[in-house]
Symmetry: C2
Subunit: 370 residues, 2 copies
């Protein structure tokens, strides 16, 4: 499939790419010391639309690696829902088209510009904060895009550590002060963020109450989540009771709720919350809105807020972000943070994309291996 979709740059307008992807004009040709990237194979889209029809794999010609730039040979990059939304054009922040897909990933430094310090060929790096265009074999970006991580980092976790685990970590930190023995409640607990929340909470001695969809095999899902450290796991139908809190044994009512589903599932999160609690919405998988009775605000004093990693990251938190990335990668390396992924060769990108689009039912996170 990859071969059929690949085309060389000659078939594509050179204006398709960022300035340093266009062919060097005569007058800008540098001395012999000019460093060029290797040609790059990339998944690109020229228009917004259904990702399986607007993306194609093409070859991009070498570009100059300027003095402050670093060329990275990508090793792995995931397909995240937000990548899909960017291609669809429904995400509020997205690169101008035409664009290379992908927003996070991990790679190895291939070559560095003459003025770059602190990064050398062979270093393991991730774009941090996130940066567009990770679905290609060689990425050239300014040196400050790249965060050098430990060479021991497990590649598939390094490729996926920002978008989901960092969201989980920030949501546990930014809205309430949680101390050991307290609890949180979340829906969409089987998502990667959900799995990270369970593990990060447990690691801090915080109980988690988890809500999952009713579906075949929910008992197996419950066992899996409990093995990760979940204290309680309920299907939505189990929570069709007058007082959901009566189902909790020895767990205090949660001060923090996390919602990535909306609709009834969000209402269940609200029901668990204790007086004065906060529900943070970071996704809307059911595509249904959140409905709240007036009394929840006035008498139960609940607060509802949202979390968007993109916004958090753009607030010039690069240093803080990188420290947390290192922390999360250490946990992953020690086996304290894990989630299911499926590694897929780059050549089979469109098979992975179909899985990420949900065409084959529930699937593990798809991670492209270059």
């Amino acid at each position: 499939m990859a071969a059929a979709r690949s085309i060389t740059l000659k078939a594509v307008s050179t204006s398709l790419w960022s300035p340093n992807r266009s062919l060097p004009k005569a007058k800008t040709v540098r001395a012999l010391s000019t460093i060029m990237s290797p040609p790059s194979k990339a998944v690109v889209y020229e228009h917004h639309g259904p990702p399986d029809s607007v993306t194609r794999m093409i070859e991009l010609s070498p570009v100059e690696v300027k003095e402050n730039q670093v060329c990275v040979k990508m090793l792995a990059a995931p397909i995240n829902p937000s990548d899909i939304n960017r291609i669809e054009g429904v995400y509020p922040v997205r690169p101008p088209v035409p664009a290379v897909g992908g927003y996070e990933g991990v790679g190895e430094v291939y070559s560095v510009g003459s003025a770059v310090k602190g990064l050398s060929p062979g270093d393991l790096v991730i774009p941090s904060p996130l940066s567009s265009g990770t679905w290609q074999t060689y990425v050239v970006k300014d040196h400050d895009t790249w965060h050098k991580i430990s060479k021991d980092s497990p590649i598939e976790y390094a490729a996926t550590i920002t978008v989901n685990p960092l969201t989980a970590l920030r949501m546990l930190e930014d809205f309430t002060t949680l101390t050991a023995g307290e609890s949180i409640v979340q829906n969409g607990a089987t998502s990667i963020v959900g799995q990270c929340v369970i593990q990060l909470a447990r690691y801090r001695g915080i109980h988690s109450i988890n809500i999952i969809r009713d579906r075949a095999g929910s008992d197996t899902v419950k066992e899996k989540l409990k093995a990760l450290g979940a204290d309680e796991v309920f299907t939505e139908s189990q929570l069709e009771v007058k007082n959901v809190k009566s189902l909790l044994s020895n767990i205090p009512g949660p001060a923090l709720g996390l919602n990535c589903v909306g609709g009834n599932s969000a209402s269940l999160v609200l029901k668990f919350l204790r007086q004065g609690g906060t529900m943070v919405t970071y996704g809307g998988m059911s595509k249904k809105p959140i409905t709240v009775p007036t009394s929840s605000f006035i008498f139960k004093d609940l607060s509802l807020k949202g979390f968007w990693l993109q916004k958090w990251l753009t607030a010039d938190r690069t240093k803080e972000c990188r420290e947390m990335i290192d922390y999360l990668l250490r946990l992953a390396q020690e086996g304290k943070l894990k989630y299911e992924m499926e590694l897929v060769p780059f050549g089979e990108f469109h098979t992975a994309l179909d899985k990420a689009l949900g065409k084959h039912g529930s699937q593990p996170k798809q991670v492209i291996k270059f």
Copy 2:
């Protein structure tokens, strides 16, 4: 009507009232210096239920005014929606039945216990924080219940200054930092809180965007609210446009929204809010819940909170509360804070109650005059 409903205390069990309302036992009879209140006429309810059928006016026998207590001759007290909810039994905090109705009001000190300092007969006082049982001619409470206010205070405003105007003031203060030139948006703008919000905002140079129901005479309502200082007044149907903000001329998007209606009217408040704005819910007149799209939380970064004066007051804010009451009463005295009220003689309490219950359509705030 009052006469028909009035009964003397002899017909009522003496256990109906608080300890100092029961007949003094022989051994507690004091020396000649014992101060007794006059007999009191009161609106009471022995059971929760529909206010027009469970309340009746009765006479209560004199009670002792203990050394730390003050007997106040009530002058005026309003019928607030929360009073009605307390009688109905649907309010989370309510006095145990049997109880005298009412929660705010104003009176004149009639007599003081031997140890009371700082209050003398003739002083104008209000219960502050709020205190139950204001629907009676003489109220005996501990001296620290009573806040002495300026003798120039307009009686009907003194009677109603806490529940509604203080709610308006706190909501403008507690959730966002508003500076002159900024704006707020609210629904239920014709309510007393709504009218206070308009005036308090205007007094601080803050623009108000106001949403009212569609009904006959809405043009007159608009003019009234604009005369109070409203910058913009829209009926809900006027806001059935794609971009409500396009209707604003020279007013920045509001950072604060106030909702006392719920349903579609709350959604309209949300639509006006700017990125990162907060909507505070303090009522639910439509009895419909609040529905919020996921994207409002994630991408628009809206926060939803609640305000309940009762909770604010119980947090030991007596001093702060009284300072604000004085501030609000000064504004009322200077004509900078006004709202419509209908003064009704106590004997016609049940006529006023029917109006407060909405039996005769929209009516001004009913204030009992003793």
